[in-house]
Every structure is written in C-alpha cells, then in structure tokens.
Subunit: 417 residues, 2 copies
C-alpha cells in the first residue's frame, strides 16, 4: 500500500495525555479510514498547548495526505484548536452564519439562554469549509492546504462519528482516488470464535486474495466481516454474495442477521411481522434487557412493558410467583423462572413473556449457585422453554450475555411458531 | 510546569493504527506517570516499520526526558522493536542469560517445546538494563542514553502494568527529582459547560499558576478537574481543599460528588444511609433508568424493582393511572407522571417512587409535544415533585439525559427530607 493515501490522526486534550479518558475515537477512525482504503500511518495525542499542536501539525504535514484532528473545540478557555489552526494556516477568524444559526437554534429549541462563549463556537478559521454538526454546537471543519486535506472534528465520540460517517468519509472518498472496498457482515450468536473458525476453516482458506475475513467478537456473538477490494463495484458485490451463499449452510442456525442488523432489531421485525406482543420479567438483568428492546425506535408497537422484580415481594405481587416456590426452590431456579415468564405474559396480557433470574455478582453466590448462575425463559401460548446459563464472574458481562442469549431464545421461539 | 519531567509514550503496532484494537495502555500509563509527577506531553502510535519507529524516537528525544515504548516485543517477525532500538542506539544484540533462564523456565513449567524464536526473546540491545517480566516471555528494558531514559515494555496490558507498577515507576521516581502532582475532581450535573464556565469565571481566573482547571463534559454533567503541582504533598492537598471550598458556594446545588463518585452510586449510598427503598415507573427510558440503578453491586438492598409501562394498558393495570387522565391529558403530561410515580410507590410498597414519561423519538412527536418532551417525577411520603424536560431529537441521548436528570432529582429529594 506504499502509493496509497496516507493519513495521520491528531487528538488534542490534556485529559487524554493524563489518562483521564481512554481514547476510543482514533481506533474507530482507524477502522473507518482503512475501510475506504486510506492508510493510517501515525496517531498523535498532544495537550491543550498551541506550540505542541502546531508542532504536531507541521510534522504530520511532512508525512500525510490527510490529517484528521479531533478535540479542543468546546466553548471553554482550555479549548484552543480553532485559534491554533488560524495560526497554522495564517488566516483570521470569521463568524460563520450557518454555524451561528445552528447554535442559536440549538439553544432556542431548549429554551435556554445563549452566552458569548456559545456564539464564539460559530467563529471559524477563514479558510475553513464549514461541516454541519447535527448533534452538537461544535462545528466540523474541512481545509485544503498545500495539497493536503485537514479535518477538524469535536472529540465527543457520537458527534465525531456522526460527522465522519455522514460528511467526512464521503468527502474523502470523492476527493481522493481510492480503490473500491466493499464489506459484507454476517452476524452470529451462540457460538464461540474458535468453534466458528473451525467450522468454516475450509471455506476461509479458499477465499481469494482480494477478499479478507475478519472475526469481530462481542458479548455472546461473533461478527464475520468480509472485505473485498477491487475496481468493479458490481463484480465485488456479486463475489461477496457468492461467498455468503457458500458459508451460510455451515452456520445457518447461528446467523441472526447481516450488515447492520442488531439482534433486538431482528427480533422486533419478527414480532411485528407475526403481530405478536411481548412483555418481560427481569431480575438479574435489572432493566438492561428492556433497555435493549426499547432502543429500537417504534418498539412500542410490540413491546408492552416489563416488571423488574429485584425484590421477591415484586415477583409475588406483580408476577404471581408462588411464595412457596420461592421458599422451596429460590428465586434463581427453573420453577421460578417459568412462573415469571408465564406470569408477566398473563399480567401484561401479551402473546409472549420472557424472563431472567440469576446471580449477576459480585455478591450473592453460593456453593450450589455460584455467581454467573442464570435462568432464562420464554413463554408463548404454546409452550414455555427454560434454559440454565453458567456465566462468569463479572456483573456487567453477565447482564449483557444473559440479554443476548434470551433475545436469541426469543428469536428461535418466534421462528419455531 | 516547564521545569517538570516530560515524558512521551510511543506505542508500536499496525493493529493500533488500523483500529483492530483500542489502545487502553497509554491512558493507564498517563495516569500513573501523572501521579508520580511526570508530565506526559505526547502520545504517538506508529506501525511495525523501522523507519517510522526511528523517526518517532528521534522526535521524542527532542522533547522528552523519558520515552516509554510499548509493543513490538513478541516472538514473531513483525515485532521489530528490539532490532530498531539497536539501530537507534548504535549497538548490537546480546543474549541475556537471566532473560534466557526466564524464557526456558516459562516453557519447562508448561511442558512446551521451545523454538529459536522463543530463545531470541532473550536477545537484548547491548546497552539495555534487563527488567524481569514475571508474567510473560517478552522482557522489559531500561536504557539511559544522552541524558534521557528510554523504557521498552511489552504491549500485553497485564504484562505492561506489572512491569510499570513493580519495576519502572519506582525506578523513575528514584532516577528523577519529580514534583508532586495532585488531582481533585468535582462532579456536577444539570448545568452546561459554558454556563458553569461563566458562573466560576472569576474563581477560575484567580487560580494560582500551579493549579490548573479542566472541564470534562459528559451526558447531563460536567466534571471539573483541578491539577496542582508542587513539592509539598500536605500543602497541595490543603490548597486543593481551599479552592474547592471557594468554588463550592457557586455550584453547590449542581455538585453530586467528587473524584470517582458516580451519580447512581451516590444515590444508592444516600438511600442506604437513610434506609429508604426505591421503585421506578419507566415509560420513555424503557428500562435504561433501572439498568443504571442496578449497575451498582448491592443495589438490591434499596431498589425493589420497577414497572416499565410502554403500553398505556400497563400504566393503568400495574400503576393505577386513571384511564380518564390518559384520555384527557395524554401519557406525556404532568397529571400522568404524578400518578405513575405515586402509583409505583404504592404498588411495590417502597418509600420512594420515581417515574419517566416522554417522547424519546424519532417518531411520536406532535406540534405541542415535540420529540424531546419528557416529564419526570419523584414521589415520597411527603410530596411529589414533577419537572418538564425539553431535550433534543436523538433517542439515545434523550433516554440518557432523562435518566441523569431524574437521578439528580431523586438525590435532591432525599437530601431535602
């Protein structure tokens, strides 16, 4: 890739150098630039000092075709990126009317007073192309200077990602002659990375050189990302489709979706298609399960609600779990999880009820029910299925894994109907 | 801080540039170095290419007293840090007997065959001081060259942390006469960065040169970080305490904690101290509020559960909201939120009930109730307080902000009791 477009990423902020925050932006930017065929050759983090920022810009100019700068665009005194870019480019600061309109609207909408510090966010270096930030008051900026492209973005991750995805990456692809790179993502759940790798080994080894495979593991699932590089768009799409057709028979049962499909979105689509309504009874997941389900816009069509029964009295009063069942088997048992799933289905009057009850940790473990012991259940008008999960020691992971496994159980139950 | 010890951190590895892994090492190193009074002035990531590594070393030499290098010490061909350090220092490679003994023992202990690649891990640049790695086969190395200290460490986080904590940090403290650096974090909620900045401007401008202020914003909250540098530990603590005393009267009502306090943890501690129990009725937050509350280990002591009433039928059946209230005022209204908070308190039998109901978006907005219109409430045995929030267009943000504002309302109500 010696003659490919070279990029450097500069992050600005003392809090990064002092370790007050972990920089996740540049890993994301690295992936995105790599995906459009731009090679990141260096990442630099400097503090909120003009001389350090200027030095890093001059160095990057020697090596890179694209320089992406994040951070230091806030309204406060310690944010000096714009002033420093004026010095670097040898230009003055100009108030940008579009930027000002955006900031003004942002405050009017919230019925809040605007300060001069806020208005100053609309001041840009004179040579900046203004890139609208829909998610905040800090502007994105694009500069072309001495055959290089400079991009300045806010450091707030969701604002930066929005600007990169919707504004900057398309502009970079258009500005530079980059090879065509196509992706196809196959999303699996309920199978570990190494088992998946063994099952598709022969297929993976037979992939042509211009199609690469990456395993992207996450909680309870592994994403397979195919990346094809070439110069014929249609041909690449066809080749990727052929590879998917070849591998699917090997992993069908574990595949819940493709590309940007999320498990909760796939489940929501199935529920909508089958005109089924859903209710949840959560114990160890403490609301995380419902939060995942309701992350999906429009989920109110099929999701009626849930009862989070952290205290056993709630399991009895709201879900109709029998006190002697809790007495005899405990809250973390197949008998209780069954009554929770069936109880919430009945109480909320939905077609399907799902439930979680377990020991998320770090406390609450016993010799026979150690931390990580979790029961999940799914009740329909036809049957109630239950499953025992033996998870690890870490509270957050146990909550996330339980949610993923239960959503997949729900997906399978809907498909089985 | 011009006369403080200056450090640069260089991380080596293509996988960091391409975003295949997120670099968490340098944030940790930044914190540790800051805590022993060494100022990190730059972080650089370069790929596995000798020329790039050499260039970064030469640049760092111009600016820093200490250069910490991580990565590129594995047994495989693409790990070239040691060879490159030989070039940089102008020395040859020498097999280190202590290092060889460690590697040999490492393999004997696991009953595994040793290859020449493994043996080569015991080869060090001739000017290296060998720093024993108890947790892996990649050695740590300490170099003194041209009045600078160079440290080379493996990139595997737990090996790097072990070497830094037990071997390198003590050596650095002994080698340099380092100033003491102390931090104090003030955590605020419910006030924007620019408003906060205006309110404390006079105080900020009056800070002495050796005490710096940084604004660290996040959803619904801004952290104020004070950093004091000097040589008298007790004196710095006292000066920081004095500055906190000075600024607190200006921001008291927005401060929920200090240093590592999280809002949900602070609320949990207050509930435990006051022996109060809590229940939640969630609509627009869809479980996210409960998930935040139950993120805290041991929250089951004070949190009994919640009812997520996405469907109005659940508001009526489970929370006792009056059908004609929903009819007349709608689900997103002060009348409904009041009945939700009081209803869940009654239904679950807790001391306190909190509730959310709003239009998270993207759909569901109307001219008089646009997306971002959210009601929150907190009901105790003494009174029920309600508040209307006018948030933005983005579902995730609206859910997170609603949760933060309601947890803060709960905090204030507990304190007012």
């Amino acid at each position: 890739m010696t003659n490919s477009i070279r990029a450097e990423v500069i992050t600005i902020g003392d809090e990064i150098l002092f370790g007050q925050i972990t920089d996740t932006n540049t890993a994301w930017i690295g992936t995105e630039l790599t995906n459009i065929g731009i090679r990141v050759v260096r990442k630099t983090s400097v503090g909120d000092q003009a001389d350090a920022i200027l030095e890093s810009l001059h160095e990057a100019h020697q090596r890179a075709d694209v320089i992406i700068i994040t951070g230091g665009l806030g309204p406060t005194k310690d944010d000096i990126t714009k002033k420093t870019l004026c010095t670097y480019f040898g230009v003055g600061m100009v108030r940008n009317e579009s930027a000002l309109a955006l900031v003004t609207g942002f405050f009017e909408k919230r019925g809040r007073e605007m300060t001069d510090l806020n208005r100053a966010q609309a001041d840009l270096p004179a040579n900046a192309v203004y890139i609208q930030n829909d998610w905040g008051t800090a502007p994105g900026m694009w500069f072309e200077h001495d055959q290089r492209v400079y991009v300045s973005l806010p450091g707030v991750p969701f604002e930066m990602k929005h600007l990169m995805t919707n504004r900057i990456l398309p502009k970079l692809t258009a500005h530079f002659k980059t090879p065509i790179i196509k992706h196809k993502m196959i999303r699996t759940v309920g199978i570990g990375e190494s088992f998946l790798a063994e099952r598709i080994e022969a297929w993976e080894d037979a992939l042509p050189d211009h199609i690469k495979l990456a395993y992207l593991p996450s909680f309870g699932g592994v994403k397979l990302r195919l990346t094809a590089t070439g110069d014929d768009n249609a041909r690449l799409d066809q080749e990727l489709a052929e590879q998917v057709d070849r591998v699917m028979p090997l992993i069908q049962k574990n595949v819940y979706g493709f590309d940007n499909d999320e498990l909760e979105t796939v489940v929501g689509t199935l529920l909508t298609e089958k005109k089924q309504t859903l209710a949840a009874a959560e114990s160890c997941t403490g609301g995380y399960l419902s939060a995942q389900i309701t992350k999906v816009p429009g989920s109110s069509v099929y999701f009626w609600g849930s009862v989070i029964s952290y205290n056993n009295s709630v399991k009895v009063a709201q879900l109709g779990v029998q006190p002697d069942t809790l007495e005899q088997y405990g809250a973390v048992s197949e008998e209780t999880i069954r009554q929770m799933a069936e109880g919430v289905r009945k109480a909320l009057g939905t077609n399907i009820g799902i439930a979680t009850s377990g020991i998320a940790g770090p406390g609450g473990g016993t010799p026979d029910k150690p931390v990580g012991t979790v029961w999940i259940a799914c009740a329909t008008d036809q049957r109630t299925v239950t499953r025992l999960l033996k998870l690890g020691q870490y509270r957050d992971q146990n909550i996330q894994l339980t949610t993923t496994y239960l959503l997949n159980m729900l997906r399978e139950e809907i498909l089985n109907q």
